[in-house]
């Protein structure tokens, strides 16, 4: 007799993920899937996949999914949620997607207090396109379009989305987690649970930002990438809950 100690959540498909070794996306996918199952809403979830590294996310989640244009996830999720209010709708986005080209869409989804859940993966780089500077790239961080490192005089400073969205009355839950240690993985899962519970309970717009490692485009091995998360990313992007407001 063998005992199953861990298995793939049913809310994920069997499609092999394409993410690079050491990337944080796969961990977050699993956390979302586990959360949907534990909240017993996996069969009424609809996911929105972005343009970027997670462009294939629609094939990894077992629920129905929509993949749309770069940055427009919150708008697409709005159309889905308003048409199917009983669905649990989540938008999964990277930093270029959410904090650059999709800035208007995320801000106004929060302004309208759209009852959706947003998962925001912040790895401070454009991954899929090969390592260009992101809106969240750190000062001094080298990118293919910032070969000498991000210079605030030329390229401005990194943007902190949780802190910014916290100013908007319509945002209800904003938290930033990481997936560099088991402790932080579990903490991030708690944030995700709250963000989905808020939607189930009609509280409204909730977003979980996850600091994620990108060994490939940071040109680091996995250990170095985790080190970068702790020593460089976290000082700019502190972890924790930035807003937790109940229903109006």
């Amino acid at each position: 007799m063998s005992t199953v100690l861990a298995k793939k959540p049913n809310a994920l498909t069997d499609v092999p993920m394409h993410y690079c070794p050491g990337c944080g996306h796969g961990i977050v996918h699993r956390l979302i899937a586990e959360t949907l199952e534990e909240l017993n809403v996996a069969d009424r979830a609809i996911g929105v996949a972005p343009v970027g590294c997670a462009v294939f996310a629609d094939s990894y989640f077992a629920c129905d999914c929509v993949q749309g244009a770069h940055g427009r996830g919150p708008a697409i999720a709005t159309g889905i949620k308003r048409s199917k209010p009983q669905a649990i709708v989540f938008s999964y986005q990277g930093d270029g997607d959410l904090a650059s080209i999709g800035m208007a869409e995320i801000v106004h989804a929060a302004v309208r207090n759209e009852n959706i859940t947003v998962i925001f993966i912040n790895n401070a780089i454009y991954g899929m396109t090969g390592g260009q500077m992101a809106p969240t790239t750190l000062v001094g961080q080298v990118a293919t379009t910032a070969p000498k490192g991000r210079d605030p005089k030329l390229q401005g400073w990194p943007i902190n989305m949780c802190e910014m969205l916290a100013q908007i009355t319509g945002s209800k839950f904003l938290a930033r987690g990481a997936v560099d240690t088991p402790q932080n993985v579990l903490k991030t899962k708690q944030y995700l649970r709250k963000a989905f519970e808020n939607q189930i309970n009609n509280v409204g717009f909730s977003m979980v930002e996850v600091i994620s490692q990108c060994p490939t485009n940071w040109h680091a091995d996995v250990q170095q990438a985790l080190e970068f998360v702790r020593t460089k990313m976290m000082p700019q992007y502190p972890l924790g809950i930035f807003k937790d407001k109940g229903a109006d």
Binding site: R44, I46, A69, R72, A75, T78, S83
Partner: protein, 388 residues
């Protein structure tokens, strides 16, 4: 069916859309189509639908993408510069095979142009506008009655062929009032068939549905497969109206409001013993080329009348080839067609004169083309009272 009632074009369109079963609308303010979102915001919720004033035209069309993915009859409306912004979403909708309705109540262009009614977006509507190989079905109403009844037709076609449909209306048509009635009973969306491709709450036993635009290695097969549907649309959905074309000396070709001005020319001509016919494309894509090619063999000349500077005329020339001379009487960027000028142009075409006929070649050579009737009305060069 309804009793005749006096309605403003944009309001007839909005009411017609709700009657056609539209239950999701997203839009952004722009003149001259503001009555559409205003009407929707007041009425769609009564039918259980949702209205969102989006932060931009981009967001609005992507909201439509999300709503259409659920199988909901979803639409947006805008005017020319706003439709330019929506092109991203339109090509994504086409690539994801999503039926929906986009309404363009055209104004003068290019750029911010003017708020005067125009027909300058013919190329954008019929040639794509967004990136890649795709088409949308384009319907061109020429009355408030058609404006109110075309949303139903648009959705029936869009859903049949799984592609976006567009209503291309003139700014003036949206703003004017006419007596009209709806020629169909209100559609109950709950009684429409469910689509097997739509995303929804995931039922046990049903395979997972994905609506997606990125096709990767399957792109070629995907585009070629979709083209079969385009071919079917081109074969079976060419719509038009013709009047007195069988024995006409000159056939006028015009869509939308221009076709109404052509009727004035047809009547003037009759008084002078000249036989003018009118061929009005109702579908701009697919363009009704089959019938027009037949008619080209029965007439002496074709005169295209458009509120743009040489757009519709290209489809006419593609349809008729060298069978018959094709002239252009153009009223670009807010110019309004005039029956007397149309008649002058038609006579020029028969007599080899140039008056009333526009060509880039003659224009570059210094021939003065007169299309300035609207100057007297102060439409051009008068910035007072203009709004975005």
């Amino acid at each position: 069916m309804t009793e005749k009632a006096l309605r403003k074009g944009n309001e007839a369109l909005a009411e017609g859309a709700i009657r056609a079963g539209v239950r999701f609308f997203a839009g952004y303010p722009i003149t001259p189509q503001n009555e559409v979102p205003e009407y929707m915001s007041a009425h769609i919720a009564d039918e259980g639908g949702a209205f969102v004033q989006a932060e931009s035209e981009l967001a609005a069309i992507n909201m439509v993408y999300g709503a259409a993915a659920t199988g909901t009859r979803a639409m947006t409306s805008s005017s020319s510069p706003g439709i330019s912004l929506k092109q991203e979403g339109i090509t994504y909708l086409a690539s994801a095979d999503l039926p929906c309705l986009i309404v363009n109540v055209m104004r003068g262009g290019p750029g911010l142009g003017s708020i005067a009614g125009a027909q300058g977006d013919y190329f954008q509507a019929t040639r794509g506008g967004g990136n890649g190989d795709y088409h949308v079905i384009v319907l061109a109403p020429n009355s408030v009655e058609e404006l109110g009844n075309f949303p139903k037709l648009a959705f029936d076609l869009a859903e049949k062929y799984r592609m976006p449909a567009m209503i291309l209306a003139d700014g003036i048509l949206g703003q004017m009032m006419e007596s009209m009635s709806f020629n169909f009973d209100p559609v109950d969306p709950n009684k429409l068939g469910k689509f097997d491709w739509a995303v929804d709450i995931h039922k046990n036993g049903r395979a997972k549905n994905n609506v997606f635009s990125y096709k990767g290695d399957n792109l070629i097969a995907d585009v070629v497969e979709r083209a079969k549907r385009y071919g079917l649309v081109e074969q079976t959905e060419q719509r038009f109206e013709e009047r007195n074309c069988e024995d006409a000396d000159v056939i006028l070709v015009a869509y939308g409001l221009s076709s109404r001005a052509c009727l004035e020319a047809v009547n003037h001509a009759k008084e002078q013993g000249l036989k003018l016919g009118l061929f009005r494309p109702i579908t701009l894509w697919p363009f009704p080329s089959k019938r027009l090619a037949e008619l080209a063999q029965k007439t002496k000349a074709i005169l295209v009348v458009e509120q743009s500077l040489g757009q519709l005329v290209q489809d006419v020339k593609l349809s008729v080839g060298d069978k018959v001379p094709v002239g252009l009487n153009a009223y670009p960027s807010g110019g309004q067609p005039d029956g007397a000028q149309i008649l002058t142009a038609a006579k020029s075409l028969l007599t080899g004169k140039k008056e009333g006929l526009f060509s880039l070649k003659d224009h570059a050579a210094g021939f003065t083309y007169n299309c300035t009737r609207d100057l007297k009305l102060g439409v051009q060069g008068d910035r007072k009272g203009e709004t975005k």
